[in-house]
Amino acid sequence: MTEITHYSQVWSYRTPRGRLLLWGGWVALVALFVWCWQLMTKDTIWFFVADAPRQAADIGGRMVPPRWSYMDELWGPLWDTINIATLGTLGGVIMAVPVAFLAARNTTPSALILQPVALFIIVASRSINSLIWALLLVAIIGPGLLAGIVAIALRSIGFIGKLLYEAIEETDAKQIEAIEATGASRAQVLSYGIVPQIMPTFWGITVFRWDINIRESTILGLVGAGGIGLKLQASLNTLAWSQVSVILLLILATVVLSEWVSARMRHAII
């Protein structure tokens, strides 16, 4: 107990300096917004904008009714798309797992060289969009499914690698210590101390990435990497809007289905 007899009735959440900074921040944000708006509208041709609803209605009108008979030509490319996503995810996982173990603070064999290299691989893979990977790979290994699969795999390394190495770093050290205390070798410590702890996360990440890859692989055809995107591009080029709508609906159905599968699987694992 101190000897204070009168306790203050005033208490404020922020200091005066904090309040000032907060106001300043808001003013700066509004100013930035105004400036960006001006920049954005400078080159806009307002005639086209005004025309937009009519154009949208026109294309929309041409899209219905969808030409359902076109569906027969789509099953093959759809199957290709699913294969690109699935094989690409598989390839990504195979490459990402070792990278994740090299990148994690608690499992990397060399914090000086291998860890930075692994982290760089992860960043490099994540910084390049699947579509750009596909563009590069179509140029390197030619158009077709393989370019799509490799593109998806390369893009997946970063995603899976990053989430997995974070999971490895968050493992409970006590369980690992207990396995070390039994006289287990390094490989045994990994397989008994760490792997069981990251397994649910690992499956969750993999299924989640597969689900993302289904969506990404639908557009890879735009740059010639196979799948349903090829058909989409062909239909767009010939202005066959009733076919475009069939493709878009099919993609939507596939994505909904893959999300449902992924949600169910993740639910079953965790």
Binding site: Q175, E177, A178, A181, T182, Q197
Partner: protein, 273 residues
């Protein structure tokens, strides 16, 4: 027999956790290690199997100085030392049986442990131990499905699966209720007596230590300040270890708490009826 000679540990931060600790634990002796938080109890037992690297001194188990060993030799020697942890430290997502068998990891090649193809003798022994700690019917349950007391029994079985010559026990009852604590301590002391197994038990519950230990060592600021039988642990000795405090008052408080708990249990039982 375990011999510590001038064991010291100074952490990188400059904190001296252990200063020149020398102790001998003969075969079959259960030694309790008491002391306030931060006295170095945990560091001491981790320096023995080198989960923490000592900065000086010797740890001699049988006729091997553990401090001087290289990595591969250290792993071989760690098999001789079973360890039991405060919060059980079981691999939560593995089954009870896998956890017990993990005590054999130092003895089997990687492929056997990876495929869970342990030698029949190891499996038989694991069942024997599970039966000994009373968990026979839980063998195929996942470790995280068990209660605290049951998990600590799995921890004991895992340590024993190593066929150890020494047990290191780190606050075995800190996460357990008073009744389960006593059951676990009784089980531990019985098992040590059956096998003539020496044990070092970190324990912060002084009455529990006095009830179950044959010898008590008091640690304060990394130094041994008491070494004797439970009877010799007088008011003065406790003051030397923990600093001034009214120990008789605290013991009375302890009894009072036990009574209050018993009372609460009776009332709960009455409510349940």
């Amino acid at each position: 027999m375990l011999m510590l000679e001038g064991l010291s540990k100074t952490y990188k931060t400059g904190d001296a956790a252990l200063r020149d600790v020398s102790l001998t634990v003969p075969k079959g002796q259960i030694m309790g290690l008491i002391g306030p938080s931060g006295a170095g109890k945990s560091t001491l037992i981790r320096c023995i199997n080198r989960l923490v690297e000592p900065t000086g001194g010797k740890v001699v188990l049988g006729d091997v100085d553990l401090v001087r060993l290289g990595k591969a030799d250290l792993r071989r020697q760690r098999r001789r030392i079973g360890m039991i942890f405060q919060e059980y430290a079981l691999v939560e997502r593995l089954t009870v049986m896998e956890n017990v068998l993990s005590g054999r990891l130092g003895y089997v090649p990687f492929w056997r442990s990876f495929l869970r193809k342990y030698p029949p003798a190891d499996i038989q022994r694991a069942y024997q131990l599970l039966d000994r700690v009373g968990l026979m019917e839980h063998a195929d349950k996942r470790a995280d499905a068990l209660s605290g007391g049951q998990r600590q029994r799995v921890g004991i079985a895992r340590a024993l699966a190593q066929d150890p010559e020494l047990l290191l026990v780190d606050e075995p009852t800190a996460s357990l209720d008073p009744k389960t604590s006593r059951q676990i301590m009784r089980l531990l002391t019985e098992i040590c007596a059956e096998r003539g197994l020496p044990a070092i038990v970190n324990i912060h519950d002084v009455p529990l230590a006095q009830q179950f230990m044959q010898r008590i060592v008091g640690l304060r600021a990394g130094q041994v300040v008491f070494d004797g039988t439970p009877d010799q642990l007088t008011h003065e000795a406790l003051t030397a270890i923990y600093g001034a405090e009214d120990w008789n008052e605290m013991r009375r408080g302890d009894e009072e708490q036990t009574r209050a708990e018993a009372d609460a249990r009776d009332r709960m039982a009455a409510l349940a009826r």
